[in-house]
């Protein structure tokens, strides 16, 4: 009881102020956007992202504000973040397409995940976990009935349901792992402004989607679209 009380106190002292701060900052961000003060709006949403990294709307609004200031690389990062948590967000996709069009009308943006992957990752790892447990229960039930029942027809049904459930169990674990990896991975990043690689002096354009290989002190080793590996300054890149 004492321990419970301690938790309540912590909650009241630290978490509640954070939540209320977050809410007010969010409203300020929206207000700044409506007042056409887009830079302030972007700053507000950026501060929300830093204290509440799972606020999916903050990323979207940050993207909208950055679009208005003409920082399309930053905007693309915001919308890509939205897609990371909800890969079927059509609005975010549309906005990314618009950003790339502004950067270069000849670039045809297509989401790096195909339709299947997109719908696969829209189901969370936890949902797959629930599927896996249900399959496991069906398998166990089928095994027991198969062993105990003498009727051939029942045994056949149990064999079939057990096999199907085993298959689904494997699929659920596999897809759950993929979904979790997608949600937690930091493999991709967006170049937020036109830059040149530190060592190789290769020009990299704003909005380019790159694959992060490793982080070295204050620069990223990244793989470009043409599979070239270069080093970019940490400040020019934002990890999705």
């Amino acid at each position: 009881m004492k321990l419970f009380g301690k938790h309540i106190t912590t909650f009241l002292l630290f978490i509640l102020p954070l939540i209320s701060y977050g809410n007010s900052t969010f409203q300020e961000g929206v207000k700044a956007f409506n007042d056409k003060n887009y830079e302030l709006s972007a700053d507000k949403f950026d501060s929300i992202i830093s204290i509440s990294p799972l606020n999916i709307s903050a990323y979207f609004n940050y993207g909208l504000a950055k679009m208005k200031t003409g920082e399309y690389g930053e905007a693309i990062w915001g919308f890509e973040k939205v897609l990371k948590y909800n890969s079927s967000d059509a609005e975010a996709k549309e906005k990314i397409q618009e950003c790339y069009f502004e950067l270069n009308p000849d670039i045809f943006w297509t989401y790096r995940l195909n339709g299947f992957q997109s719908s696969l990752y829209s189901i969370s790892a936890n949902t797959w976990a629930v599927f896996a447990i249900i399959c496991s229960l069906i398998i166990a039930f089928s095994i027991v009935l198969f062993r105990l029942k003498k009727s051939h027809s029942i045994r056949r049904i149990m064999l079939l349901s057990g096999s199907v459930s085993t298959l689904f169990l494997i699929i659920s674990i596999l897809f759950g792992t993929l979904s979790k990896n997608h949600a937690t991975s930091t493999n991709y990043a967006i170049v937020t402004e036109n830059t040149t690689s530190v060592i190789e002096k290769v020009k990299v354009e704003e909005g380019a989607l790159i694959e992060v290989i490793e982080l070295e002190s204050n620069q990223y080793r990244v793989k470009l679209d043409d599979h070239q590996i270069v080093s970019l300054k940490k400040g020019d890149v934002k990890v999705i």
Binding site: G22, N23, F26, G29, V30, F33, N34, I48, S52, L54, N55, I56, S57, A58, F60, N61, L64, Y85, E91, E94, K95, Q97, E98, F101, E102, P105, F108, S124, A125, N126, T127, W128, A129, A132, I133, S136, L137, I139, A140, F141, I143, V144, R147, L148, L169, I173, G176, T177, S179, K180, A183, T184
Partner: protein, 563 residues
């Protein structure tokens, strides 16, 4: 680029009227075959030295050079303009696409430049020859109908011309009545019919005068075998002439394969498709022009309009503006047809225009080919005051969902449960529960089996003791067979106590199974008893001593088994 030029001094008059200089270069025909006569004409309202640039190196000048002047009325100003022209015939000896010109007219210190003309020179048509009879060969002149192909697909073009052979050098012809192909709708004359170019050629070991005449590009309609009806003419040398009728020719027109693709536009040949969009940055409600060009060679003049693929919210207004720019040659028609569509945009945002596809039939590969335009994208700025003039306004409104700022939405970490201890426990727990349950069931089944076995064994032991008592009572009374059979039965029951399934086994198999369960000595004793019983059962009446001995052995074995 190597250029040849020819310079002529035209007339020595100066211009009478002040007007802007105009120099026009024309070449006819624009598409010819290797060695075919073409005419290059330079026409200008300026009199001076004429020079033509970029004549192909394989161009061979002919002897026909014509020059002169003509007057035309400019209806805008009412002035009469004098044009000076010069034309030169010749032939190009190599296949290819050539750009001839520009031509320059030099007068004093001023030089006036003309346009350039593109000319396509194709391979010489390899025509087939109809059989010529020996009788025809004896005639002063005879003719054949020649075609570049014997068999074509429906929609394909065929080149047909008259080929005339003569033993005398012809000067002119008269009374020509052309050949006829039934059902021909589309026919285009090629070359110059007013002039004949006579060559000498070896034909069936005879050197004859020959020339081609009345060349036509024909697009036959219908399918099946078609007979080209002969032509007639009178071929003259000065005042003397010879009237003859040519052979006929047969061509086969094959139908196109069934089940053409849905986007088949009736094109037969080889084509490409291109798409151009006039503007990519638009406002909602704007109309932009989208140009689709079908380029290639075949039956371009007969193709149907393509159906552009447009996303929702894009509407085509009216019929497209069609521009045809093609020439007739041995391939049929060659060039392009463009369709200009007026498209209105109702949807705001960046939209990808999907590729427009069409299909044509390629007679070389004998299959339908699908071609597509490159995808394009356009950006449409939102116009809040725009009201779509469209049947389904709701649909348009739905497409134009406004992208406002979103309300705060903190998502939960949807990956925390998967892969954790609770998850793996949840997955494995049902298995373990099932295994434990099965183990318990199995154990219970085993103990039930054991109890049953014990009961059977107990019953058999009782049977053995009853049997022994019965044997002892009948020691002296019963006959041999009955006595020893009972001994055997008792021993078998005694052994079955050790092997529960022994009831169903024969004597030998039972002894075999017992070798792993009882001592070898006991087993041997049991075997001995069985053997002795077999021997004594059918022997002459054994005495009581022998019976007693077998009984004792039986008791001994049974007691050993009980141990």
């Amino acid at each position: 680029m190597k250029s040849l030029s020819f310079i002529y001094t035209l007339f020595c008059f100066s211009l009478l009227q002040a007007q802007s200089a105009e120099v026009i270069l024309t070449v006819t025909p624009l598409s010819a075959e290797v060695g075919e006569i073409i005419t290059i004409t330079v026409k200008s309202n300026v009199q001076g030295e004429v020079e033509i640039d970029n004549l192909p190196s394989s161009f061979v000048q002919g002897y026909d050079v014509m020059s002169g002047m003509e007057q035309e009325m400019d209806y805008n100003t009412g002035q009469v303009i004098t044009y000076y022209y010069i034309s030169q015939t010749g032939a190009i000896g190599k296949k290819g696409d050539y750009s001839i010109g520009p031509a320059f007219v030099k007068k004093g210190n001023k030089t006036h430049k003309s346009n350039s003309v593109n000319v396509t020179i194709g391979d010489k048509i390899q025509a087939s020859t109809e059989n010529v009879t020996a009788e025809q060969l004896k005639n002063p002149a005879f003719g054949t109908i020649q075609t570049n192909k014997k068999s074509i697909y429906e929609g394909e073009a065929i080149v047909v011309f008259a080929k005339i052979y003569s033993h005398f050098e012809p000067t002119h012809l008269e009374g020509y009545r052309t050949y006829e192909l039934p059902g021909t709708i589309d026919k285009k004359e090629q070359g110059n019919r007013s002039r004949i170019v006579v060559n000498r050629e070896y034909f069936k070991n005879q050197e004859l005068y020959t020339f081609d005449y009345d060349k036509n590009i024909i697009f036959p309609s219908g399918t099946g075998q078609f007979k080209i009806a002969p032509y007639t003419m009178k071929l003259n040398q000065n005042r003397q002439g010879f009237q003859f009728k040519s052979n006929h020719a047969v061509i086969n027109i094959k139908p196109l394969p069934g089940n053409p693709p849905k986007d088949f536009i009736g094109a037969v040949g080889n084509f490409t498709i291109e798409q151009e969009i006039e503007a990519i940055d638009l406002n909602q409600g704007d109309v932009f022009k989208m140009l689709i060009r079908i380029i290639g060679r075949g039956n371009l003049q007969n193709i149907t309009e393509p159906s552009p693929t447009l996303p929702k919210g894009f509407i085509i207004y009216g019929d497209p503006e069609i521009k045809e720019n093609y020439i007739y040659n041995s391939h049929g028609t060659e060039g392009e047809i463009s369709y200009k569509y007026n498209v209105q945009v109702n949807k705001s945002g960046v939209t990808k225009l999907p590729p427009t596809t069409v299909s044509f039939f390629d007679p070389k590969n004998e299959k339908y080919i699908n071609i597509a335009t490159s995808p394009a994208q356009i950006k449409v700025k939102e116009d809040k005051n725009y009201i779509a003039d469209y049947e389904n306004i709701e649909e348009i409104e739905e497409l134009n969902t406004k992208h406002f700022m979103r309300k705060s939405n903190v998502i939960e970490n949807k990956s925390s449960f998967f892969g954790g201890l609770v998850f793996w426990s949840g997955v494995s727990l049902p298995f373990f529960t099932a295994l434990i349950l099965l183990f318990i069931v199995k154990k219970r089944e085993n103990s039930a089996d054991e109890t049953r076995q014990k009961q059977i064994s107990k019953k058999k032991i009782q049977q053995v003791s009853h049997s022994l008592a019965s044997i002892e009572q009948q020691l002296a009374k019963s006959n041999e067979n009955e006595f020893y059979s009972q001994i055997e039965r008792t021993l078998k029951i005694g052994l079955e106590v050790k092997i529960p399934q022994g009831e169903t086994m024969g004597k030998i198999k039972l002894l075999g199974e017992l070798s792993q369960v009882i001592k070898e000595q006991t087993l041997n004793k049991a075997k001995t008893i069985f053997d002795e019983c077999d021997q004594l059962r059918y022997g002459f009446s054994s005495d009581t001593v022998s019976r007693q001995a077998v009984l004792s052995k039986l008791k001994e074995v049974l007691s050993e088994l009980n141990e």
